[in-house]
Amino acid sequence: MNTIFDHKLAKGVGGLLPALDVPEQGIEKLIPSSLRRTHAPRIPNLSEPELVRHYTQLSKVNYGIDDGFYPLGSCTMKYNPKINEDLARLPGFANAHPLADEDLIQGSLKLLYEASRYLCGIAGLAEVTLQPAAGAHGELCGMFLVKRYFEERGEEKRKRILLPDSAHGTNPSSATTAGFSATEIPSGKDGMINLATLEEALDDTVAAIMLTVPNTLGIFEERVLEVTEMVHAAGGLCYFDGANLNAFLGRARPGDMGADIFHFNLHKTLSTPHGGGGPGSGPVAVAQSLVDFLPVPRIVKDENRYRLDWNSPHSIGCIHSFYGNFGVILKAYAYLLLLGDTGLREVSENAVLNANYLQESLKQTYPLPYERLCKHEFVLSGKGLGEGISALDIAKRLIDYGFHPPTIYFPLIVPEALMIEPTECEGKETLDSFIEAMERIAVEAKENPRLLHEAPQYAPVRRLDQTRAARQPILTYPFDER
């Protein structure tokens, strides 16, 4: 595949400069020779049509939610309504300068303030910061809040974070990055937290538990109230990872389940672009006991005026420039207004309905190690499907059928895991064609395994050498060899 520097024929220049209308000075007079470059800059020399074709070709070999079904478990790859984009491009928002005087951006501040209130309502918690740039950044912010909370209480000995083995994958690294040590708690046979195991792990060195509800098996922690009660009784805090909020949006609130801290992924649950189309946004909501520690600045409303408040002496500080990814928060706000209370409840209802429809249909063909009513996602196993067939083979074969593969090899507690999350956006026809593809792949795995091992055959590129990519990544463009 060509990069923009590989176009052999490209010799044109895309831009036309206007005629010079001042006397020419000459570069020698303007810039001392010590500061002048000795080689021409490496800028691709493409004409406008060549440039347009380059990017159009790239877009054609890409695959996104606007192309088709994207059941990437734990990622909530839902459709991004185009009205969000229209609103984000309104000149008053798009051209607002981040350093503009507060009087000139009252509309933007009002939007941020109202978005905060809506998010607090969804979380059932007291306050929220909109600063974190994405989910893992929100987790890190949450861990800093936990740390500050115990520092202020003189309980620095609380250095451990408990993590169920079905928790979201970034949790251990967020805890460790914030200076805690992670203690893993094995799930029970039912895929949920075992209270006896939890009891054993709890002592006065535990700062918090990081819970993913529903967990990465797509199972709702039925004993969540007991879990948060036990952690609180032991003096710890409860952090809820919001990656799976699509499962209970508008139906239940983390604050009511005992959460002290909860992060949102606006790029998952609230429909803003995700992955390469980002950036993301990971607001963090907290209970009253943690409000004083939230990052600065905070957005406050005095009568009818909005302002940024930097006066918060106990704050953990600033964790993102200005006030987070404003454009993303704006799109999420548009989505909240578009759907309203009823619409948001329907989102989670349909996300759960779609997931259970797929689970019920596919468990006839693929092993389902943790079988119960799922929430927004579920985890099948690709083990035993055929001689030498791996989850990776199944995922690659799905590409040949025109689908984005599900998440594979996560969570680790399911061998050859295939983690499937359809979201609420898909109709029955799409789900049925995915089921049909999965069933055909299961037959191929037995009758013609070569089709799986050699997949994908019909994608722009064949099977990539992911091991070499990880062991010997080439991160620079080798200009000198060309």
Binding site: T467, A470, R471
Partner: protein, 127 residues
């Protein structure tokens, strides 16, 4: 038998080769197979004191990141630095050239709970 009989094993899929008070530690053939192609290994520095059950090393494959726990308490006296540039050695020879660290152990009785090769393979079979 895939797993050498002179080694002892843990349920966390580590092997231990105990000689006097020196314990050489690696991950088992079964563990490397489950992890798949290993792309990165993080080893402790020589002189690090570890307690049984604490994190000793991290092994990262294309599928997952796995913690290796200290099977016994002691001090790290030797690490396999070759793995930093050739992590694939663990896949190729997990019970030999793919060893991770050698510990000078402080309490030999900690070895009492280890499995021998037939018991470890039976443990794997029971899944």
């Amino acid at each position: 038998m895939t797993h050498p009989t002179q080694f002892r094993y843990t349920k966390e899929h580590e092997w231990v080769d105990l000689e006097g008070n020196h314990a050489k530690v690696g991950i088992t053939e079964h563990a490397q197979g489950e992890l798949g192609d290993i792309v990165f290994v993080e080893l402790p520095t020589v002189g690090t004191a570890v307690k049984k059950g604490e994190n000793l090393a991290t092994v990262e494959s294309i599928k997952a990141v796995g913690d290796v726990y200290a099977p016994m308490s002691g001090t790290v006296v030797e690490v396999n630095t070759q793995l930093e540039s050739s992590p694939e050695t663990i896949n190729q020879d997990p019970h030999g050239a793919g060893w991770l660290v050698t510990l000078e152990v402080s309490d030999l009785s900690e070895a009492d709970s280890f499995l021998d090769a037939p018991s470890y393979e039976q443990y794997l079979a029971e899944g």
